[in-house]
Every structure is written in structure tokens, then in C-alpha cells.
């Protein structure tokens, strides 16, 4: 087999393997104080059974990206373009971005094939219904299971997410549970329809450290067991290291670095990624932190050139031209002129 064929075969396998492919996604909001380019040309690939961590600071567009996959963005004053290709269970590839948001097809995907969990489970659970009611409702909406079978499935789901005494917990109301338990219920509901993709938007940020560890363990275990793909949105690089296979670092609506988790932590390449890692205090390390200068700018400000330039220590004249995402030979993508000459292909 020649090299060319091998590459082609690998490409084919990779194509097969890709569950969700976001291409050149742009989302903008018209607000009273100006137009915000919240997401500005994001490309992401989620492979089967893998976890893609999307990491960035507040306002970088990471949550908006996830929400656009589910068609959960407000319809008013929102402009969206690009494609979101999702391989559905039937094997066909759908462009979610072009599906009518309230259409039947979208509903059959949202919550069924793609599920989502949020930061604060209390606001995503209805306070007036019991946990059991809400899980049964999820089952009714997305699966053909009914009656006693549905009840058994609900108990099974609660067991799966590690809730003790699931039969009695079915009758509990969300406010009677702790934050960690509520997040487990949210996960159980998300899993009700056996989704192939789970979007997790800062699912452990509101939780205590020990509870966070439990939930992360749970999510990893469930992924191994069910083989689903996960998009894990977070600002916490520690959580990224714990959870991810691949990582996309986002800054002001653009992917600035895209790498496997080992590459990212071993060879952080973009100045922003390096800056983030250097800003983190670590246990056992005593040397002075070297944080990034300045603060996260307002996304409404229009910028020409590299968006990170005015906080970057390695800024040069070329940074006034927007850098492309450069593919480095060892499989890392980075949006920075510093690596222009190492680049294989430019996209």
C-alpha cells in the first residue's frame, strides 16, 4: 500500500468516525449597543465515542457554539451562518444549521440524538414536578417506551447515574436534592433517549470540588459504557485535562488552538494557551505566575488582525493581518503567525 492510499484510507476512516462537524460557524447578535460577533468562523469535529473539550473564558462564544448545535439560540436579532453536519442514527448526514428550528426533524434530534446538560441544574429542572415525572416526560418525548416499562427505565437511569434508592428518589422534588444530585438527575434525563452526542455546558462549575470529582467520574464512566460523544464546555483547564480527548481553545469567537489533550498540555503553542497555563497556580509549584496582560476585551469591539494581539507578548507587525488556522506537522492547529513557517497546510 502506498503512502497516498494510506492517507486516503485514514481520511475515509476519519470521515466515518466524525459524528458532528461544525464548519465556519458564525453567530452574531444585534444588541442595543452594537453588533456582537459571538462566534466568528469556528470549525470543530467531534468523533464517535470521544470527548471534545471547548475551553475559553467568559464571552468567548463557547456556550453559544453549543447552543447553536441544538438550535437553542434566540431567533430575534440573531444572525447565523455556516454548517453543522450531524450524522444521525439513520446514517444520513444532516445540516442542523439549515433545519427549521421548530421543525419535526430538529425536534427528533434535539434531546433525542443530541442531549444537553447545563451549569445550574436547578434552573433546568421544573420545580413543581417530581424528578420521576420529569424523567418519564423525557422518555415519553424521545422514546417509544411507555407505562411500567418506562418506570423501570427511569429507575435504571437513576441507578446508572449513581443515585441511591432510585425508587424513592423518583418521588422527590428537585429542591429536595443537593446540587450534585440534581446534576445527576439532569444527566439521567439527558441519557433517557440514548443520545449519540452529549453537550455539557460547564456542568460542574457550580458544584463543590468533591462533588465535581464525582460527576466527572460519572461522566467518564458513562461515556465508556454508552460510547457516546461528549462536547465538554468549560473554562477550567484542570477539568479539560481530566476529561478531554481533543481540545479546542477559543478566544473571542475563534478557535486559536486545536489539539489532542496530550499535545495541548505538553506543547501549548498559541500564546493564549500558553498564557492560560502560566496563569494557573498549581499545587507543588511555587514560582511566580506569569499571567496574560490586560483583560478579555468586549466582543463588540471590532478588531482587525489577530484578536489576541493586544494582550500578546510576542506581538509583531504581521499580527495586524488575521492569521489563519495553521496545521502543524504533528497534528496540532494553531492560529498564530509565529508558526507560519512550520505550517503544513493552511486552512
Amino acid at each position: 500500500m502506498g503512502t497516498m492510499e494510506m492517507v486516503a484510507a485514514a481520511d475515509g476512516r476519519e470521515q466515518d468516525d466524525i459524528l458532528l462537524h461544525i464548519e465556519n460557524l458564525k453567530v452574531g447578535f444585534q444588541t442595543t449597543s452594537g453588533f456582537v460577533r459571538a462566534v466568528d468562523g469556528v470549525d470543530l469535529k467531534v468523533r464517535r465515542g470521544r470527548t471534545l473539550a471547548v475551553v475559553g473564558e467568559s464571552g468567548c462564544g463557547k456556550s453559544i457554539t453549543a447552543r447553536s448545535v441544538l438550535g437553542l439560540l434566540p431567533e430575534q436579532n440573531t444572525v447565523m451562518s455556516g454548517s453543522i453536519a450531524f450524522k444521525s442514527r439513520t446514517g444520513e448526514v444532516l445540516d442542523i444549521a439549515s433545519l427549521p428550528r421548530r421543525g419535526k426533524r430538529m425536534r427528533s434530534i434535539r434531546g433525542a440524538e443530541i442531549a444537553m446538560i447545563f451549569q445550574e441544574p436547578m434552573t433546568s429542572l421544573t420545580p413543581v414536578f417530581t424528578v420521576g415525572d420529569q424523567i418519564l416526560e423525557a422518555l415519553r418525548l424521545h422514546t417509544p417506551v411507555r407505562g411500567a416499562q418506562a418506570l423501570a427505565r427511569a429507575i435504571e437511569l437513576l441507578e446508572m447515574v449513581g443515585i441511591p434508592e432510585p425508587e424513592s428518589r423518583l418521588k422527590a422534588y428537585p429542591h429536595q436534592m443537593s446540587g450534585g444530585m440534581r446534576q445527576r438527575v439532569m444527566i439521567a434525563m439527558a441519557l433517557a433517549s440514548n443520545p449519540s452526542l452529549l453537550l455539557a455546558d460547564e456542568p460542574t462549575t457550580a458544584l463543590d470540588v468533591t462533588v465535581q470529582a464525582q460527576i466527572l467520574d460519572l461522566m467518564r464512566g458513562l461515556q465508556d459504557e454508552l460510547g457516546m460523544s461528549v462536547v465538554f464546555i468549560t473554562h477550567d483547564l484542570g477539568v479539560v485535562a481530566e476529561m478531554a480527548h481533543e481540545v479546542a481553545v477559543i478566544y473571542l469567537g475563534q478557535v486559536v488552538e486545536y489539539a489532542s489533550v496530550d499535545d495541548l498540555f505538553e506543547r501549548p503553542t498559541h500564546p493564549y494557551t500558553r498564557g492560560l497555563l502560566n496563569s494557573l497556580p498549581r499545587i507543588g509549584a511555587t514560582e511566580r505566575l506569569v499571567p496574560i496582560a490586560g483583560s478579555v476585551p468586549d466582543p463588540r469591539e471590532h478588531r482587525v488582525g489577530c484578536r489576541f494581539a493586544d494582550r500578546c507578548a510576542s506581538r509583531m507587525a504581521k499580527c495586524d493581518t488575521p492569521p489563519p488556522l495553521i496545521k502543524l506537522p504533528h497534528g496540532q492547529d494553531v492560529r498564530c503567525w509565529l508558526h507560519e513557517n512550520e505550517g503544513g497546510t493552511q486552512s
Binding site: D208, V209, T210, V211, V240, A241, I283, G284
Partner: protein, 342 residues
């Protein structure tokens, strides 16, 4: 310094709240801070760590008399004279407040949105009049420079600043009274990752430059390690471990502290490990478990006589190693040195 009086000597401090008290309802007692004692030397910083509901924020606020302590003493040694801060009143309290300041968690909420930065920084001078009026403006400008902000920011309102900048303003306000001790209540938790490091560095520099003492309250063990000389771990109102940072991070002696450290996600995929997070969640502080509060989740309080002791007998804060206290019946058995690898 060791034979001199410590700057702060907290003795058996407790703070209880009565929850749900109505006209005909007695309500329940929540012991948010339960018999806490520690000392703090001048220039030293104590990190207080724990999860939600452990009482760390209440401790900070009770120390500053934002809450009146239920019992106990807070002895402050200022200018060579010691006095009990927890009972003084009126003008004496006001004067003493100068020495104890606070930086809050939410930088947006801690600045009055209707005042300019100049007015906000002028307020401490207006309250205490410790600086001649003619010098105030120069002092304000000095404070701005000290926290790394430009003077032209003075006439703007808080909302036009980023979180990190607002937190710097909050720090400048605390410094205006030239305090000896600053209680930092989760000062970086609300900030973006890239900003946290800046504020932590600033706090460190200020401490060195001004000889400040800090009580650094946080749930983030890594941030605490960066600032603190000593660590106090709290669980359901009690200090369960108190040690120098070095000794603590090298070998924590309380099972809860151990659990906290092992639960902390580490930004290094090579160190992904099979962890054992503690079972269950933090019990309600209104009705904490008997004996050792942690026994319901503790991997060491397994069964039989051991569980009997842990659930029946409140452990004392004992000195396990030199200057290393832990509140556990079996602290001697807990050895964890693998943590040092990180």
C-alpha cells in the same frame, strides 16, 4: 516574632444563626462557625479552605464584625496593646476597623454602581479623616498606581471596568485605611482564568511591600497554596486541619483534606488518576452528623468499633506533627506523600 504577641488571636469563636424563626416557631440553630481558634502573625497569611456551607465566609465576616459572634474572642494586637475586637463598640470599634479590611468575592457587587471610582476611593478617607484633606487626592492617585490602574480611570463608573480591574479597585479601597490585616473572601473566584493570576500576583506583591497579614478564604486549593503560609481546612463549621502550607500540601492528615486535594482536577492529562472522591455530598449544616462531622463520607470510618468511635466521639484538634493539627481520631494512620509528585 514568635515570642511576641500574634497580630490576631482567635479564641473559641462561634457563630450560630437561627433559621426559620417565625412568630410561633422556634426555628433551628445553624452553627456556621463552631469553636474556631487560631492565631495569625504579622505579615503572615492564612488560607481558609473548604466547600460550600463549611463556614469559611461566615468566619471571615464574623472576624470583621459583619456578624456579631455568638461566643469567643478575637484579640487584636495593635500598636503593642491587645484588645478584644469582638466586644468593643462605638468610636473604639470604628478606629479598630481601620486595621481590619476586607476584599469581596464579586467585584461587580462590591463597588457602588452609582459612585465614580474617585468617590469610592474617597469614602474611606471621608469616614476616618486620617489624612489631611489636601493630601487625599494624592493618596488616591498613589493607591491607583499601587494596584496597577491608571489615574484617568478615576472619573469613570464601576461598570466600565472589567472584573479584574474592579477587583483592583476593591483592593485599593481596602488599602486606603492602611490596615494590618485584610480578609480576602474568594477574591479571584469570580474572575476569568487569565485574570486570576494577575490579581494573585498583585496580592502577593502588596503583602510583601506593605507587610500585610491576609486571611485568604477560598475553595481553590491551588490558589490558596500560592498565597498562604498556613492552611486551615474547614468542614461544617469546624477547623479539621491546621498546618503550615508546606506541611499540609506534603502530607495532609485529615481524610477530608486528603479528599479535597485528590478531587482537585490537575491541568496535566498525565496525572489523570483513579481517584476516590468522597462518597455523598456535604450534609446540611443545620443538622450535622454526630461525632466527627465527616464520618458519613470518610473512607477511614468504615465499620465496627472505628465507625462507632467516629460517630460517637467528637475528635479534638490535635497536634499530629510539629505545628500540624488535625481533628481526626486516626490522623496518625493517614499518610499521603504521593501528592507531592504534582
Amino acid at each position: 516574632m514568635t515570642n511576641a504577641q500574634p497580630l490576631l488571636d482567635v479564641q473559641h469563636l462561634s457563630k450560630s444563626f437561627v433559621i426559620g424563626k417565625k412568630l410561633l416557631d422556634e426555628g433551628q440553630t445553624l452553627r456556621a462557625v463552631d469553636d474556631v481558634s487560631f492565631t495569625l502573625e504579622r505579615g503572615e497569611s492564612l488560607g481558609v479552605v473548604g466547600e460550600s456551607g463549611c463556614g469559611k465566609s461566615t468566619l471571615g465576616r464574623t472576624l470583621l464584625r459583619l456578624y456579631e459572634p455568638t461566643s469567643g474572642r478575637v484579640v487584636l494586637a495593635i500598636d503593642g496593646a491587645a484588645s478584644d475586637f469582638s466586644t468593643i463598640k462605638g468610636e473604639a470599634l470604628k478606629q479598630m476597623r481601620r486595621k481590619l479590611q476586607m476584599v469581596f468575592q464579586d467585584p461587580s457587587a462590591s463597588l457602588n454602581p452609582r459612585m465614580t471610582i474617585r468617590d469610592i476611593l474617597r469614602e474611606p478617607f471621608a469616614i476616618h479623616r486620617h489624612v489631611p484633606a489636601a493630601e487625599i487626592e494624592a493618596r488616591i492617585r498613589g493607591l491607583m498606581a499601587e494596584v496597577g490602574l491608571r489615574e484617568d480611570a478615576l472619573d469613570r463608573f464601576p461598570h466600565s471596568f472589567s472584573g479584574g480591574q474592579k477587583q483592583r479597585i476593591g483592593i485599593a479601597r481596602a488599602l486606603a485605611l492602611e490596615p494590618d490585616l485584610i480578609v480576602l473572601d474568594e477574591p479571584v473566584s469570580a474572575l476569568d482564568v487569565s485574570i486570576r493570576g494577575q490579581v494573585l500576583n498583585l496580592l502577593k506583591d502588596l503583602q510583601r511591600g506593605r507587610g500585610l497579614s491576609y486571611i485568604f478564604i477560598s475553595h481553590d486549593l491551588a490558589a490558596v497554596q500560592y498565597i498562604a503560609d498556613r492552611i486551615a481546612v474547614m468542614y461544617l463549621g469546624r477547623i479539621v486541619e491546621l498546618a503550615s502550607a508546606q506541611s499540609f500540601y506534603a502530607a495532609p492528615r485529615h481524610p477530608y483534606a486528603l479528599a479535597l486535594l485528590s478531587a482537585l482536577p490537575v491541568p496535566n492529562p498525565k496525572l489523570r488518576r483513579g481517584r476516590q472522591p468522597p462518597r455523598g455530598t456535604i450534609p446540611s449544616p443545620i443538622n450535622p452528623p454526630s461525632g466527627c462531622h465527616f464520618h458519613t463520607r470518610c473512607p477511614f470510618a468504615t465499620a465496627g468499633a472505628r465507625l462507632h468511635r467516629c460517630s460517637g466521639e467528637v475528635p479534638q484538634l490535635r497536634e499530629i506533627a510539629s505545628k500540624h493539627w488535625a481533628r481526626c481520631h486516626f490522623a496518625e494512620e493517614i499518610q499521603q506523600s504521593s501528592l507531592a509528585v504534582r
